[in-house]
Symmetry: C3
Subunit: 495 residues, 3 copies
């Protein structure tokens, strides 16, 4: 214990020293560090190497606009001239936080939310709120169809009286799968005392925790989690710009974006040479700082050429340059107008952005004109390295993939509808995801059609062919068709 105290004193001394140039550590943060340097050394070390520990918001504001990483122009006085430490974030807006608790004389909250980050990064938070991702919990939970898909995907199924029955998935199971990416709703369930090396202390009991899903509903009512992409206490630009961040949620058979990137020419160049690139530079200079795009290049980062001409603006509204929603629900379709999709309903009354036949429910989706604008913005990024002919050729293929993958989803739907009509499967209004033919149908759009479209968008050949691609679109159709024939024959023989 003596050793600990000594190290705490030493640590404070050192910390005070290292950050004297660009900003002082606040007294409150010093107080946090005095214990947490030894209690949670891993995150304290990460923070010490982060930009947050090295510069005060006031200093950050002095940078030229193009080089600046904060987006407000006024900083609250109490934090303007200290570096951004533990207390600056974990005590911010403490009245708004249900997870605030008294901790050694401070009103601390466990979960730092987009609202807290917005004190300095307001534009980013505002933009982020316009993403579907920021409503990934809400959109998921309030849609009866998605709810049904969740229940029949997670199960568990059990055998009761010789029959398979779906039990309702446990909240821990949900948090461990769908909500891991979509985000949980964090609920505060009082305080609980715990023995620590500094004596007994009380901490809030949180349900749905831990979680860093993109649409997390936070104890201050905000939605989202900046730490989804800027993880933990290094708040690293480098991490957010590398494809592994996106891979956390976009690698599975439903959204194989990372896998496709990996086998694309872009991915090849990144994996082969990226170790020498500058992933921390702001703005990010094409050709100089990096030679091939990562996910962030095309979708988020501020990209310039060597003379600081802007090629792409920084945007945390990632759909700014996305015309299509490739992800099939159930068909690919023009991007929704609003991040909140809970209002979307098709003519059949289903909460879907297209009819079951594929026709888009246009009033909720962006117009052809808006699609053009977004595509044009995206193409500007491509044109930093490619000629117009190249770029047009690429996009023509993507549009054709959208068309044909939708077509093969429609073929699968026709078979499904016939199965429903002929009463060999139950279909609406009961679950449309719990029977053999229905699960085949889900895989048609959720796995194979998605793979084909993403493969096309990012040029990763085999994901459009044998790796969950067109081979499976066709094989699955055949299996659905064979299944239906067999069932209809069996029905006939009964008569």
């Amino acid at each position: 214990m003596k050793k600990k105290v000594l190290s705490i004193i030493l640590c404070c001394f050192l910390l005070a020293g290292t950050s004297s140039l660009a900003g002082q550590i606040s007294d409150a943060t010093k107080s946090c560090l005095s214990c947490h340097s030894s209690v949670t050394p891993g995150i304290v070390c990460s923070w010490k190497e982060s930009i947050h520990s090295q510069i005060s918001p006031a200093e950050a504001l002095k940078k030229k606009l193009l080089l600046r990483k904060i987006s407000v122009t006024k900083i609250p006085k109490d934090i303007a001239n200290v570096v951004v430490g533990c207390a600056e974030c974990h005590t911010a807006n403490h009245n708004a936080h249900q997870d605030t608790f008294e901790h050694n004389g401070f009103n601390v909250h466990v979960i730092v939310t987009p609202k807290d980050c917005a004190i300095c990064h307001l534009t980013e938070v505002k933009e982020y709120n316009k993403n579907l991702m920021s409503k990934a919990y809400r959109n998921f939970k309030k849609n009866p169809l998605y709810h049904d898909l969740e229940n029949t995907s997670l199960g568990p199924q059990v055998v009761k009286e010789g029959k398979l029955i779906y039990e309702k998935p446990h909240s821990e199971t949900q948090a461990d799968s769908c909500l891991f990416c979509h985000g949980t709703r964090i609920r505060v369930k009082g305080l609980k005392a715990k023995e620590t090396e500094f004596g007994e202390m009380k901490f809030p009991v949180l349900k749905g925790w831990p979680n860093q899903g993109t649409g997390r509903v936070n104890p201050d009512g905000s939605e989202g989690s900046c730490t989804s992409c800027h993880p933990r206490h290094s708040f690293s630009l480098e991490v957010a710009r590398k494809p592994y961040t996106c891979a956390e949620c976009h690698k599975g058979p439903d959204v194989p974006a990372y896998k496709i990137y990996m086998v694309s020419k872009h991915g090849n160049i990144y994996f082969s040479q990226g170790k020498g690139w500058d992933f921390k530079a702001v703005p990010w200079i094409v050709g100089k700082d990096f030679k091939a795009p990562t996910c962030a290049t095309c979708h988020i980062s501020l990209i310039v050429d060597e003379e600081n001409n802007i090629i792409a603006k920084r945007t945390h509204q990632m759909n700014d340059r996305i015309a299509w929603r490739l992800f099939g629900l159930i068909y690919a379709h023009p991007h929704p107008k609003e991040a909140d999709t809970t209002k979307i309903k098709n003519k059949a009354g289903l909460h879907l952005p297209t009819e079951l036949t594929g026709e888009p429910v246009s009033k909720f989706l962006i117009s052809a004109k808006e699609m053009k604008y977004r595509t044009a913005d995206m193409k500007k990024v491509c044109l930093a390295c490619h000629t117009t002919g190249w770029v047009e050729g690429h996009f023509a293929r993507m549009e054709k993939s959208i068309e044909t993958a939708n077509k093969q989803t429609f073929a699968a739907t026709q078979i499904l509808l016939k199965a429903w009509k002929m009463k060999v499967a139950k279909g609406l209004p009961s679950s449309i995801f719990d029977e053999a033919i229905e699960k085949m149908w889900v895989e048609q759009w959720l796995f194979y059609a998605n793979s084909v479209r993403f493969a096309s968008a990012m040029s990763g050949a085999d994901y459009g062919a044998f790796a969950n691609g067109r081979w499976y679109l066709n094989k699955n159709l055949q299996q659905m068709s064979d299944w239906l024939k067999l069932k209809l024959k069996a029905e006939e023989s009964k008569k």
Copy 2:
């Protein structure tokens, strides 16, 4: 615009400066750079960091043979003493190029082809032409069986009058999947005017573009695309030597080479320590420059020991050290004698290097003696780190895997032939890939037998077991057999 002009002047000045030591930039290339530095800054930057921008062919020729990267001994005068810039490649052989167009006073062509590269790298191009890969378009398109496989893999299938019908795949779909790796046939469809920031200009309209497939048919009649492995304007040895390059086409379930490498001991060492190795050294010194092989080590690169004793010659004819064609068509078999396989026909009249029973069509395939030579050359690479006992043990397992995977492909074929004979599937002369049992049969050799053989060749255990390996060979056989039983019983019950 003023800013642009200024930057152009500045850029030319800088460029003239940086490359003054080893070679001057030609006036023509300076002219290209004057606009493209700002129009396509990404690729100009890449080129500036490439060897091409730093040395003239005449200087390159002065290097000792073992260190040399060009393979001709005479360089055309007009390019000998300038660095290899935009104009040197994009105006080369311009009369032979159907994609040549007038561009600011120059006869420029869009697509640089192996014929253009051969001006300096003749040996590499000649050797490359002896690869199956260099004919990947031709061999694919002129073989009715492969054509049938393409049609039934890509579809799309649609429902017409209650039946699933295969539509012919669209050319964009082909380019997006099979031909992405095999290469497209590039066709020039006239010129098209376009508004640019320098006024209206005309550019050729290219069909099948973009593409960097290995057997691309180019507008000058040549086949292949050096950029498949030496991507874009860095012409990087490092990229070509890293496994991500091969992964672009060799990662899917049909050719899981990269995945297997990843879990091999070789892959482990590369991924763990490779960041410190020298991927640019020529020749490439085993143990010093690298500690474990990548794809290029065994198949292509010039490998020496620390005293420059040659362990393996550089070869761009990758089959130089490959005795077997592991890739099942439909069975693994001795490597074809010639890169052009369009003449190959078996006794049954099918364009296949084996009979449907597995017997090789020997006259088109290399002899046992040639197989020995090639294997011996490959083993020399292994022996740089392993003892003879180790190497012999490894190859014995590979041969056994070829034998048993072929055997299980034969078992699947027997079931298929019975299905055809008993008329529960149509088979030849109609498509042999469009029915349920046929698709199962395809997966037996294209996915599972291939996985087992590649796993064995590269020591990646689970790809020979549960990861698309022998587990699936056996499970698939059982499913084929069960399917056949069910069908035969159904037929019987009709009588």
Copy 3:
């Protein structure tokens, strides 16, 4: 040849020079190097860069305990003051080695075993022997059920008189798949003469070679292979600490640990930033040397904070911190008490740690109390970066996943048992892995339930959902149930 001799002289000279500071090269090793520098240059170079070539055991012993890499306190005199070279390992304990042979005047053995390594690394070897992995060959081969699974997984199946028959897998096939990871039994089959560049020499003929499986049975009777994780002649800590090492055997559908790590937050941070971390430091300082854990961090390495307070002790008994055996055999269950599991038998007489219904066979498994201790030790690692609330939340989810994945395995087992009872599948005492419904059942626990549990343990969301996760647990149950219905109906219609 002249050149070779010259280079050998030069090499010895250089080597003598480079290691003069921390230890001399023994005469015996010098003799080895005199030829092997040119015969197997790759491994000699690797060794030259290893710690073994740079320090003698006596010098290593002088280091402070926390920094020390060897675990004995007395070193045999003859090797104490020379660096650890070829001869020190390959002639150690030569009388115990059946693979010892006379080689240029030395009694050399090919395979260096844990017993040999134990001369300096005794604690590590003792601990390693307490792992299931160290008995991976024995436990596998002596269990009739595992044997049956091996036979039906590897095949090959052939068609005989119209029926599919399993042939016994060839030893080369076993070595190429299951035993690649489990380890082979190495057998010495006499000596064989071979022509070399130094004249005719005799070498031992080894069966089961090469192999670096974790439970390899060696020619000196020992079990295990240190080179599984510390590969080849660099004996690299860096390699063993990186996740690619574990991926060699833990990436397939049966144990997708690496894949899950890749999409976890930990993996993201490692892949994004790990290139700058210190993977060679001993002890390994959390936050300073590394910012996110790799497999080794949680399971093996000596972890300290910046003041050298121990967070986790080094252990080569990896189950020291593992309460549950997540890997389903057939159900996840408390970890076995002993590494040797050959004695385990359930009430039904099957060599399994649980009943077919899931009930654990407690007397062979660790107690609830021991599980608590192990979990507490593991949590200490987590707590270096996370709060208690976070850690408790994480473990609660893992326990829930174990419960529900076991539940869905039980549901699959109920369907299987009914199939056996109704005589539509044979079941015990014949093979329980060779029929359609049995193979479905195997995939339920071996692929899907395992994926769900590992996903939960390591926070890799989609492997608990669509990537071989719960989606497939439910789909597979449905297919099993449908298969059974179909069969029962067919049986009924016969009557």
